[in-house]
Symmetry: C2
Subunit: 233 residues, 2 copies
Amino acid sequence: MSYSYNHPRPALAVDCVIFGFDHREEAPELHTLCIKRNIEPFKGKWALPGGFMRMNETLDEAAARELKEETGVEKVYIEQLYTFSAPDRDPRERVVAVAYFALVNLEKHSLSAGTDADAAQWFSVSKLPPLAFDHKTIVKTALERLRGKVRYQPVGFELLPDEFTLSELQALYETILERTFDKRNFRKKIDNYGLLVETGGMRRGKPNRAAKLYRFDSKRYKALEKHGFIFEL
Amino acid sequence: MSYSYNHPRPALAVDCVIFGFDHREEAPELHTLCIKRNIEPFKGKWALPGGFMRMNETLDEAAARELKEETGVEKVYIEQLYTFSAPDRDPRERVVAVAYFALVNLEKHSLSAGTDADAAQWFSVSKLPPLAFDHKTIVKTALERLRGKVRYQPVGFELLPDEFTLSELQALYETILERTFDKRNFRKKIDNYGLLVETGGMRRGKPNRAAKLYRFDSKRYKALEKHGFIFEL
DNA sequence: TATAGTTCGTGTTAATTTTACACTAACTTA
DNA sequence: TAAGTTAGTGTAAAATTAACACGAACTATA
């Protein structure tokens, strides 16, 4: 058994992989929000936002807090990803990191003009800069989890604005899963689940036919989920 | 950013949910291996095997070590499950627990006659005794993960002996997923994947027709997996 | 104000996959 | 040798998925 409360202890940090998606891009991509470190170690390098857990908060709370403190992002979808514990992942001393991943609508959370571009920046996941610590591994793990998750849980909507078009939704799935879908078949499937509601609005502003706007009916999903319904794309 | 290495720190423990399955039972059930605590807190209560991470090992290593030390189980399938951090989950002081789940063949790991039944015992997951700390929550989380995982990754085989019959495999899936499968359809599907190899042996000893023995072809699975193949039940 | 350019929205058919379903074979025990 | 039990096998109907093309609606600009 050997429980003892007097072992030396690692520091315990949380790090957040924040995925953002901008449906307005022509060739949309997943993005991740990185922070430029202003202290050692890895001073000046890009890193995932994060920090140490406090003794009066849970890890979930610590992740949400760091997210807000470092990037202003709050009230978004966030879930625990994995705990990383390579003994040398921090060059100074032992730090175990509990990684989280968050999904945000990049449009809503695009960095305001006044923001110091040196402090925080979105990078497309295919063109990440070198990252501090083992953060590259963390991002990779988060991507794999997102790809797995998106197929059987409707989390993709978290990456879109509240109102979105079916084409935007399709582009999102095509981006994440790196494949294409047939437009009519995709719509048929989404339609059948009955999880989308027309808002009445239209997406205008582009030189082509306007598209209907929908929102995700999360109440209905929760109800269906209880009866064993499984979303699957 | 606010990285600092001088915060107060929680203790960091690992706990293991060990799932075992005995194909010889008439109404087979999933089991979990519990340890009786011989020190405070929760002295005398059942708990998941676990202990503190050491400064020179990873969490994976700590989990494997505790598993072996406390139950003798080694070289089995094990993966990180989730990190639990409720501030009051340990009545003494702050302890964050990284939970793992392991899958073992209960037959191979049944407690040898000499073992002190007071020290370690298998419980069917539907009849768990009260558990120390938040270990009940951990088991519940592990079960959910196992149910989700088993459907799209061939981990079920880890719960069976190296050689098993198709009926045993079917009973395993029916037990975990709490549903039944049609015998012919089940076999057809498994057959199509081409992941089972006849060993030539037969399961004898029961007063009925002997059944062919198979083993899981993990090499073939790994090869297929690389090309995007997804096992799905 | 007409035309070119672009995305939106829609239905049918064939192919594939999934489901439902029942009997004989093989072995053991009495 | 008969009774009891599990092993092993195929086919047809139903449901799901995949393939495929064109008119509608909107904007910009000629």
